[in-house]
Symmetry: C3
Subunit: 138 residues, 3 copies
């Protein structure tokens, strides 16, 4: 059995959006009890992250770390036509995940207690983002 | 056909644990000959890594690199309540993998000659860690 | 339904090779219309990347960023027997992906407009690389 559904999100610029509940709801609708759930983002300047979901400081710290590691406007970059935050967004995307693969059992994604599923917008301005959830199993 | 099994591991603090044999043993038990094996860690301060398995210096060097890239006690971090190694553990987890997706053929994970499957504990102290292996295929 | 095929590539040293068309062709041949496509590299000094495919500067910038983040000959590394670019190649591999998981619908991988699938050779000299594509679905 397999099923697929696309989520469309409007981001508000750089930062994370918790999509855990949307992903779990799609999995529940498929009727798959044991299998694999794949979450995929169709962009190269936004990515996906499994992250601690209890203290909002964790996501802020993640953003601070990335902003220092891959600074906007870094003179090392030649691809600057779309702004100082575009190439850093591509690098952040490559250093994190375009796809998350999650185990399904008892009809839902078996996340750890502190694991949340986040879309991470890496551009400064908001964008429309498309995420596809595919569930395979029995 | 699909099958799922959970492994519980007791880590000894920061460092890697080779779980290749355990994963291969689970795959063999499923009877799946061609398909996909997903290995998933249910935590945000430990992660999974496919790494060179011949020279133990490779894993030591990996640890040295991460310790420099994401130093414990970095003043950039606000999430410090659980100790100076907690937020760095979350960052290391995001920069590596919470899930590995491996090809199965002829009844086992087709790893390259030098590829081993490792759990990477990012906290200084030992923890109980849970890893779920899901196998889909025929 | 599932299907699996191995691609062999000869790289020309450090840099990327676009394998999008080869992956799509394998998916088309399987007859799977909805499911998951897994692309896996059987090496620890080359990796896979979903990357912007319109401006070649993006891949050059990605390479510049990695060359600075994980410099060849870094004295922090002990594993140097295979040359100054070997341990950096292992680190680059761990910071990026050994496997890409892509959604299949309407008989092909549903990539975003600007997403290409690349093999990233991290060694300075060319190597023979093996990539396995596994497709599961209906």
């Amino acid at each position: 059995m397999n099923a697929q559904k696309t989520i469309r999100l409007e981001t508000q610029g750089r930062g994370t959006v918790d999509i855990t509940a949307q992903v779990q709801s799609i999995v529940a609708q498929t009727g798959v009890t044991v299998g694999i759930c794949q979450v995929f983002v169709h962009h190269t300047s936004a990515s996906l992250m499994l992250c601690e979901n209890a203290d909002p400081d964790v996501q802020r710290d993640m953003e601070s770390f990335m902003a220092r590691l891959v600074p906007d406007g870094d003179p090392i970059f030649r691809h600057t036509a779309e702004g100082p935050d575009d190439m850093p967004a591509h690098v952040r995307s490559v250093l994190t995940q375009s796809a998350l693969s999650l185990p399904v059992s008892e009809g839902s994604c078996q996340l750890g207690t502190w694991q949340g599923v986040y879309l991470w917008e890496h551009r400064r301005h908001g964008h429309q983002r498309r995420v596809t959830v595919t569930v395979l199993g029995e």
